[in-house]
Amino acid sequence: MAATVSREPGREERRPSPLVETHGLTKRYGSRITAVRELDLTVKRGEVYGFLGPNGAGKTTTLRMLLGLIRPTSGEARVLGEKPGSPAGLEKVGALVESPAFYPYLSGRDNLRVMARYSGAPRSRIGEVLDQVELSGRAKDKFKKYSLGMKQRLGVAAALLKDPELLILDEPTNGLDPKGMADMRGLIRRLGRGDRTVLLSSHLLGEVEQICDRIGVISKGSLVAEGSIAELRGRQGLLVRAEPVEEAARIAERLAGVEEVAVADGALRLRTNPDRAAEINAKLVSAGLRVSELRPAGQSLEEAFLELTGGETV
């Protein structure tokens, strides 16, 4: 399952090359741990891509490989057409990997000065990015005195210094309170507007559902699905409550266009187009069955996710 439909196909046609592309990317630690296995990932220009997976799935490991911080055991990756981690490849990439890490004895602003020197960003960018993450008021305070939310925002600010085409954010809402999370998500959505591409990793389904155009699901190091939210939500169906249920099941099985029938909790679950509800209802009633409930019952994204990740909770 590796559908590749973008919300804005027009944009891709103009710039066809994917921003991030990996082939068979694999990272092993020792002989026992395979953190990432044969990963084929494609992130297209302008999209907000959600990289979703439970704890320990290999998200951070993948992002580190995309940034050249760690070397893949095998496979290859291209970021903006360049080798990961090369100065040319990093020129237009901003990243916050795992927890935000800065010099505790320096102020927020001085930390950004250090980072701007490393990146070659002009000094004027420092004020701009501080404004963007709404940290200007506390820029003079030492990093060690920041709250987690402020640290997280400073991390995003540092990632924005180069005004990157590709922004890589690794679980940026981790550890934030609900308001902090909402603020961070709003910020990411704003940052993802226009031409900028965002690669956001998360273990929160609701989060990527809110923010992302397309999702890749990683589980135990492998990409198990990639596609838009609608595609991942997958096959739609109907829930039917009718008496007697065995009889109803037999009739339903013979109906054309019903792919699968399952009985659960005294109700039928039919995998079929929900638009056929009225027609199915008529068939059941005319066969003398009593229909008490009939409604569309799409697999929730959560169910789809659980199925994909083999039941691991997210």
């Binding site: 911080l69 890490a101 250090v114 490393y118 990146s119 540092a158």
Partner: protein, 287 residues
């Protein structure tokens, strides 16, 4: 590399620990190089009543000699030949270890590397900035000695005569090699262990305990002596000896190594430590 150098300068300059170390270095040098010796030589304990006159005279001559050694004209002997400058080994070992190791402790290496510098550029900038601060620490050490000896001259009403400029220039070189080798040892150890704690612990143990023990062990063989010629302490001591004969009161042994060879050895050590650090950074994953 220049950008990384500037980033690193900002980090070291704004770090409180840097200035604490500078202060400790200054105070150590003044205390151990001057204050203790001076207070002993200028206020000798009262001799026992039945002490023979010959011993008494000998004592006074020794005190005279000690005081004389503290005057500005003997600045370089007191700082280098007597080994006072080696007190800085522990200080700059910590300075070097902090420059490299803290990045691992704080996880800032990944933040910096994702900004764009090449690993080579980042490390070269770091090493260069450390070198600049090591030179500053050498200057601070020389200044501490000069100030103290000037103070002694004032207290003793002695003439103030400084060593010739040429000797001072040599002293700067010897100081840079002495502190440089220890600073970069700390730097390389911190890269090796990816942190400051183990690097400082092992580095200090080596500097304070192991090297001294090696020098004192009564092993009489050629290979042991060739090994001893490789220790940092033997080489820095050899460089220090070029400024004059050690004061017999301090019981400093004859150097094993010729000064030219010592300068080359120490320079090579600095290069090896820097190269090892670079190799480790280039090769290893940053997690």
């Amino acid at each position: 590399m220049l950008a990384s150098f500037r980033a690193e300068l900002l980090k070291i300059r704004k770090r409180p620990a840097t200035w604490v170390l500078a202060l400790v270095w200054f105070v150590l040098l003044v205390l151990f190089g001057y204050v203790f010796t001076y207070s002993f030589a200028a206020n000798p304990p009262d001799p026992p009543e039945n002490q023979p006159a010959a011993v008494q005279q000998q004592q006074e001559a020794l005190n005279e000699q000690l005081l004389n050694g503290l005057l500005p004209e003997n600045l370089l002997e007191n700082l280098f030949t007597n080994g006072t400058f080696n007190l800085g080994a522990a200080i700059v070992l910590i300075l070097g270890a902090m420059a490299a190791g803290s990045e691992y402790g704080w996880g800032t290496l990944k933040t910096s590397l994702t900004q764009r510098p090449s690993r080579f550029g980042l490390l070269a900038g770091k090493a260069l900035a450390l070198a600049v601060f090591l030179v500053l620490f050498v200057a601070l050490g020389l200044a501490a000695g000069a100030l103290s000896s000037y103070g002694v001259a004032l207290l003793e009403d002695a003439a103030v005569e400084w060593p010739p400029l040429e000797e001072l220039a040599k002293a700067a070189g010897v100081g840079v090699l002495t502190l440089g080798v220890w600073g970069f040892l700390g730097f390389a150890l911190a890269m090796l262990f990816r942190g400051t704690a183990l690097a400082i612990g092992l580095g200090l143990a080596w500097a304070l305990a192991v090297e001294n023990t090696i020098a004192l062990l009564p092993i009489d063989s050629d290979w042991w002596e060739s090994f001893r010629r490789l220790t940092l302490g033997e080489n820095t001591a050899s460089l220090g000896s070029i400024f004059g004969d050690p004061n017999p009161a301090f019981g400093i042994p004859e150097p094993l190594v010729e000064p030219e060879r010592a300068a080359i050895t120490l320079g090579l050590y600095v290069a090896i430590f820097a190269a090892l650090s670079l190799f480790l950074l280039l090769r290893r994953d940053v997690t």
